[in-house]
């Protein structure tokens, strides 16, 4: 009968693994050579370019070899890997890439080493304050910002120009633009506004942005927040967005927009480079703008991005920290931007004339990144998100009213964590 419950057993076995086993031993070493293992998610850009950077680091740091171990692109799977592997006596990797929403959790769990000494007060001036806030727990810095992401509005410049329209600044303007262009184009295959509505973290980001852009707070609830959620539903109801957004994630929307099948798209900054690469049907036809807001409010994007951290029980913390210094240095950040199309985590680089010449779109990005807001910075973030995900999804597909969904989310958060736990840190 044991085979019949192998799923349960597997879950249990994994739970036990997380609970008590040590990770596998660090790789064997040649005499004098130290191998550091670097875990990170799959890159959207060219992995060769990144590997070249690591080889460069090895040349500059004799006796150190860097081994990359790439995790799946799905952030949920990466999170699971870290959770299962960080709670051991020894950890089989020395450096890891941490999503901004995990940093507090990992630091709270005691899995990360303090890295205060890596960023001197003067160096912190070059960083984005929201990234530093995400990486700071109980007054200590546990991770160093690596690269940035923020929610943006992508639009088809050619189509907007054809109808004499400017990029929309408010949501009603976006709805009007979609109607005008769809009426004029008479192309049933051309969708209006694409965004991420699948029951996952992406939906939570979109909903936060809509609420913030109306001066509301999702977890606070109330009429304004409910209005943001019902606007999400209206987009689909009024065919501004196709029904398929309710099941769409970043890549689904990026592909559809990238095939020239939509006028607008909300997506992270990573999509820009992919949309502009050789062979893309929308190359040079895409424009970029801050997300619209509701009339009378400021546009606010959700802040995304990745940090570098060292496990507390890493075998070679000193060498791992040297690699962090290298990867976050202005010079390498510039190469990451040029070769991989990543958005540097250093504010000073956005003032670098040569870099802005080569990647002019970063100039437009700076105000968005500077104004981008963190999702609640708390060790309990994933619990909050997993409460919000099904509720928002239910509201989106009209299984619940927006008011009901938000009230239910607030009730669950209260039952699990008490009131406004994200503010207690």
């Amino acid at each position: 009968m044991s085979t019949f419950s192998s799923q349960g057993v597997l879950l249990v076995a994994l739970a036990l693994l997380a609970g008590c086993t040590a990770g596998s031993a660090p790789p064997p070493q040649d005499s004098g050579t130290i191998t550091i293992v670097f875990k990170h998610g799959k890159f959207a850009g060219d992995p060769e370019a990144f590997t070249a950077l690591l080889r460069d680091f090895e040349r500059r740091t004799p006796g150190v070899v860097v081994k990359e171990e790439v995790l799946p692109a799905s952030t949920d799977q990466q999170h699971q890997f870290y959770v299962v592997n960080l709670e051991g006596r020894s950890v089989a990797f020395d450096l890891l890439a941490v999503d901004v929403i995990w940093a507090q959790e990992f630091a709270r769990a005691g899995w990360l080493a303090e890295l205060d000494h890596l960023l001197q007060p003067a160096e912190r001036e070059d960083q984005f304050p929201e990234m530093i806030r995400a990486a700071t727990y109980a007054g200590r810095l546990y991770a160093i910002p690596w690269y940035m992401e923020a929610g943006l509005l992508y639009y088809r410049r050619d189509l907007l120009e054809r109808y004499g329209l400017a990029p929309p600044r408010t949501w009603p303007e976006l709805v009007a633009a979609v109607h005008a262009i769809q009426r004029g184009e008479r192309d049933p295959g051309l969708q209006g506004f694409l965004w991420q509505g699948k029951q996952y973290e992406g939906l939570v980001c979109v909903a936060h942005e809509l609420a913030w852009g109306g001066g509301a707070d999702l977890l606070e609830g109330g009429a304004d927040a409910a209005q943001a959620v019902s606007f999400m539903r209206r987009l689909v109801g009024e065919a501004v967005s196709p029904a398929s957004v309710a099941t769409a994630d970043e890549e689904t929307t990026r592909r559809l927009f990238g095939a020239g099948r939509a006028i607008f798209m909300r997506n992270w900054s990573y999509a820009w480079t992919l949309l502009q690469q050789d062979g893309s049907p929308v190359r040079d036809k895409v424009g970029l703008a801050p997300l619209p807001a509701f009339p009378g409010h400021e546009s606010v994007s959700a802040l995304g991005g990745w940090l570098l951290a060292v496990p507390k029980r890493a075998a070679h913390p000193r060498e791992a920290q040297a690699l962090i210094r290298y990867l976050t240095s202005p010079e390498v950040q510039r190469r990451l931007t040029l070769d991989l199309g990543y958005q540097p985590a250093r504010r000073d680089l956005y003032r670098d004339a040569a870099l802005m010449e080569a990647k002019p779109w970063l100039r437009d990005l700076l105000p968005v990144l500077s104004a981008a807001r963190s999702r609640p910075v708390t060790p309990y973030y994933l619990t909050l998100s997993h409460i919000l995900q099904p509720e928002l999804s239910a509201a989106l597909v009209a299984a619940k009213s927006p008011e009901e969904a938000l009230a239910s989310a607030k009730r669950q958060v209260g039952a699990l964590l008490g009131s406004r736990p994200w503010e207690r840190g």
Binding site: V12, A13, A15, G19, E87, Q199, P390, K400
Partner: protein, 310 residues
């Protein structure tokens, strides 16, 4: 059976053989215990704790988690979803699998070379890794460029594309359809093997007695196939109750938790929100559901075997 009608020498050897048997089976039993039983007991142990590493909490909680479980709407919804999924998909797989098995048995009777090819072809959906087939189906279901909508529109059955996954009820049935596509071949092959064990003479005799096709199926094939049917039911039910990867890739449990099965809920609780104690409680509850269903089937199977024996 065991030695009741055997003579003395045999029974004495039987005891020593049993001892030898136990000795040889010992390491295997130990391994099974270590690999299957120990983690299971570990989970049950954890399920009585409140354990959240990020809170730094690890304490004995008694039956508190089970009390929470009792009042947990999401758990009961996941139970309903899981049982709905299981009931529908297993019924459809058995029904279609039986049809397919009868067809294969009839068409391929005696033609060994073709039989091998057809059997291999039929098995393809089952051989495709679940995650891959789930991704494939998510493309088939896609409202804008999915093949399913294209076919429905091309044949004029629907006027505008249907989004199969944007409605909780529709999405759950889309998941059932995917599972049926994937595992019907497995049911069919087991049933086909069962059909092959029925002696052909019986059919000839029935024909000679003037039984019609339906009568042969109803009074000969079905009763003789029943043990295999029960085995298929047991296997498929256990698999369907534990369904995780297929649905997780297809919908992530959404929309609105409409497709959240017990495993998905347990997975999210354990590995996304790190509630190891309560997550283990969910896993244990799921194990109990599986155990209850298995026990029911085994009782059914045993009674049936006894009837056949008598």
């Amino acid at each position: 059976m065991n030695g009741r009608d055997g003579h003395r020498g045999a029974s004495r050897r039987g005891i020593s053989e049993r001892a030898w048997g136990a000795l040889f089976a010992g390491p295997a039993l130990f391994l099974v215990g270590l690999l299957a039983l120990a983690p299971l007991l570990g989970a049950v142990w954890l399920s009585f704790h409140r354990r959240l590493p990020i809170f730094g909490i690890s304490e004995f909680a008694g039956a508190r988690n089970y009390w929470l479980l009792w009042g947990d709407e999401r758990f009961w919804a996941a139970c309903r979803t899981t049982l709905h999924f299981t009931g529908l998909s297993v019924a459809a797989e058995l029904f279609l699998g039986l049809g397919l098995a009868l067809l294969l048995d009839r068409v391929l009777n005696g033609r060994a070379a073709e039989a091998r090819w057809v059997q291999a072809a039929v098995l393809i959906p089952w051989a495709v890794p679940t995650v891959v087939s789930a991704q494939m189906w998510s493309w088939l279901y896609h409202p804008d460029y999915g093949l399913l909508n294209y076919l429905l529109q091309a044949t004029g059955l629907v006027s505008s594309p249907i989004n199969w996954l944007d409605d909780p009820v529709r999405a759950l049935h889309a998941a059932v359809l995917m599972d049926v596509w994937k595992t019907t071949p497995f049911a069919a092959l087991l049933l086909l093997a069962g059909l092959k064990t029925i002696p052909r003479d019986l059919y000839l005799a029935a024909r000679a007695d003037g039984a019609g096709r339906w009568a042969v199926f109803r009074h000969l094939t079905l009763p003789l196939l029943l043990p295999v049917i029960l085995i298929v039911l047991v296997f498929r039910t256990m698999d369907a109750v534990r369904i995780f990867d297929a649905v997780y890739v297809l919908t992530g449990g959404g929309p609105g938790n409409g497709t959240e099965t017990l495993s998905i809920y347990a997975y999210k609780t354990l590995f996304q929100t790190l509630q190891f104690g309560y997550g283990s409680t969910l896993a244990t509850a799921m194990f109990l559901v599986v155990l209850a269903l298995t026990a029911g089937y085994l009782l059914l199977l045993r009674r049936h075997l006894r009837e056949i024996a008598s």
